[in-house]
Amino acid sequence: MAAEKSSIKIITLIAADGSVFEVEPNIVKEMKTVQSYIDELDQNTVSIPLPNVFGNDLAMIIEYCKKHASEEETKEAKEEFDFEFVKRMKSDDKLRLLQAASYLNMESFLQFMAKAIAAEIENQSVEFVRDYFQIESDFTPEEEAELRKENEWAFK
């Protein structure tokens, strides 16, 4: 497999808004959706459209991949990067990136985003979580009260 890939020098990713990113093959290794198409093709350069990911998000994902693919960086430096990476994101960004990660089939990045989102809703009230994710409840107040009663062992 390694021999096949070595012929590809550069990969062009085209985001939903048309923005273009040229990356080295090791950057997309983590993106299994992309990687599986590269493996099927037999070319020196590949252009891959990603109609479900916007340019801004793709730029962040690539930044993350570059940092984590680097062998120069220490574990501590990568952890610090992750910390800052999450810190500068709003909850909207996290959810969009989570979806992108799911679409690109990036296991560890998906894990990373899911964990970051979980950290935000951990120990929060139901109302907070509903608000936070803009979930519209389809329960009547009575139905909700009933559910709470039914599961009161989790609300103590």
């Binding site: 040229e22 959706t33 459209p49 220490t74 799911s102 139901v126 979930i135 409840s137 989790a154």
Partner: protein, 427 residues
């Protein structure tokens, strides 16, 4: 060359079609059509992913968010049960019973995190109930963490039945809160898929040749943490692994003279405790990142000399982190600054962690005694002078003179950071 026009070729428009669908095409029918919620329009499997990081108590509470969420928690592949967040304790028993009966039994259990440390231990019946559930759902169980005071036989039997485990973290206190004896680590534990092992307060018992090799059955081990563990009936602890990348020894009290380390892939080494074990075998030569928090509990030459021998072994280290007590311990080596290091040649960065409150009084006392002894070896006058200075309030310096230059003698351009830590925990 990179110009892209999708009308150009059929193949490319085919790729576009494929890429549009992505990996979740198979779930398309399941997704709700409204898609107006930020989170709810994610496929169930992604939501379950997020929920799997939550404490199970909070995960269950999402059942009242909306209809879509009502039964979702039953399909979470992980359980995180912490008795501490329940008060009184009987609430926890009820919670566990409910979870174990209501959880969708066809959903594989991938991870279980059990934190049952509490005053007076856990009810034996409750522990039994949980362990029985684990044993009957152990086919896909990959991650298991147990922190509990309870029947250790029951727990270890359960652990050994989980053959798919990749990660195991154990801290067991058997026989009530006042039993401080370590638990014997079973020799028969065979978990072929295990990559991460984290053991707190276990005893490794030696064999006939005064050598103990507790981890040889874990052929895929990548990360090993042993915390407050000791060795019985052996002088040598052998860790031999082709795959081991991270080794952590905390509150080291193995008590062995020698550690045979044959781990050619070892990359990080983290240590806290009093170094007494000489490291041989391939040793620390492959290690790139090192953290050492050494201290001494008795006045003797061995720990400082052992520490020095470790440093001499660090041929390829790039990042070295040491605490102030490590440097103070090292400074007790006679004529240290004259030692010519052949190691530490590729150091990129060194971090010194100053611990506050500075050091424990016991350590300070030992340090002063050792310094006095060293001074006395030179002349009686010098010792008397030092004694007077200590009386007047002189404290041993957290970074002894010449220490930074000594460590950087072969890597003068390495970056040096000095940071302050306010507790004693690692990193």
């Amino acid at each position: 060359m990179y110009g892209y026009d999708m009308a150009d070729s059929n193949e490319e428009s085919m790729i576009l079609e494929k890429m549009k669908r992505g990996r979740h095409s198979e779930n398309e029918n399941e997704e709700n059509e409204e898609g107006e919620d930020r989170l709810s329009d994610l496929p169930d499997c992604i939501i379950l992913h997020i929920l799997s990081f939550l404490n199970t108590k909070h995960a269950v509470r999402t059942c009242v968010l909306s209809t879509k969420w009502k039964h979702l928690w039953k399909r979470i592949p992980t359980l995180k049960l912490q008795s501490l967040i329940f008060s009184p304790r009987k609430h926890f028993s009820l919670f566990v019973s409910k979870i174990l009966t209501l959880r969708d039994s066809s959903t594989a259990l991938h991870a279980l995190d059990l934190d049952l440390y509490c005053h007076g231990g856990i009810e034996p019946q409750l522990l039994k109930k949980i362990l029985n559930y684990v044993c009957s759902h152990n086919n896909h169980l990959q991650e298991l963490g147990i922190r509990v005071s309870g029947d250790s036989n029951l727990i270890m039997n359960c652990v050994s039945s989980c053959r798919a485990l990749t990660s195991l973290k154990l801290s067991i206190r058997s026989g009530g809160s006042f039993n401080f004896e370590n638990l014997l680590f079973p020799k028969s534990l065979n978990l072929p898929a295990l990559t991460n092992l984290d053991l707190t307060r276990f005893t490794f018992c030696g064999g006939e040749n005064s050598l103990v090799e507790p981890f040889s059955a874990f052929i895929k081990l990548r990360s090993l943490v042993i915390s407050g563990c000791n060795v019985r009936d052996a002088q040598t602890l052998r860790i031999s692994s082709e795959t081991l990348v991270n080794l952590t020894m905390l509150d080291d009290s193995t008590g062995v003279d020698k550690m045979e380390l044959c781990a050619p892939s070892l990359c990080t080494f983290t240590y806290s405790g009093m170094p007494t074990e000489k490291i041989c075998g391939s040793g620390l030569s492959s290690v790139k990142q090192v953290y050492i928090d050494a201290r001494i509990y008795t006045t003797c030459e061995k720990p400082p000399m052992t520490l020095l021998s470790w440093l001499l072994d660090l041929a390829n280290v790039k990042s070295l982190t040491v605490t102030s007590t490590t440097l103070q311990t090292l400074s007790l080596v006679p004529d240290l600054l004259e030692v010519k290091l052949l190691s530490l040649c590729n150091l990129k960065s060194m971090e010194i962690k100053l611990k506050l409150p500075e050091v424990q009084p016991g350590f300070l006392y030992i340090l002063k005694e050792a310094m006095l002894e060293k001074a006395a070896a030179k002349s009686r006058k010098e010792a008397a002078k030092l004694r007077r200075e200590f009386k007047a309030g002189l404290q041993p310096h957290p970074v002894p003179d010449g220490m930074v230059d000594f460590l950087l003698q072969n890597s003068p351009s390495a970056k040096v950071d000095i940071t302050t830590v306010y507790n004693m925990s690692v990193c």
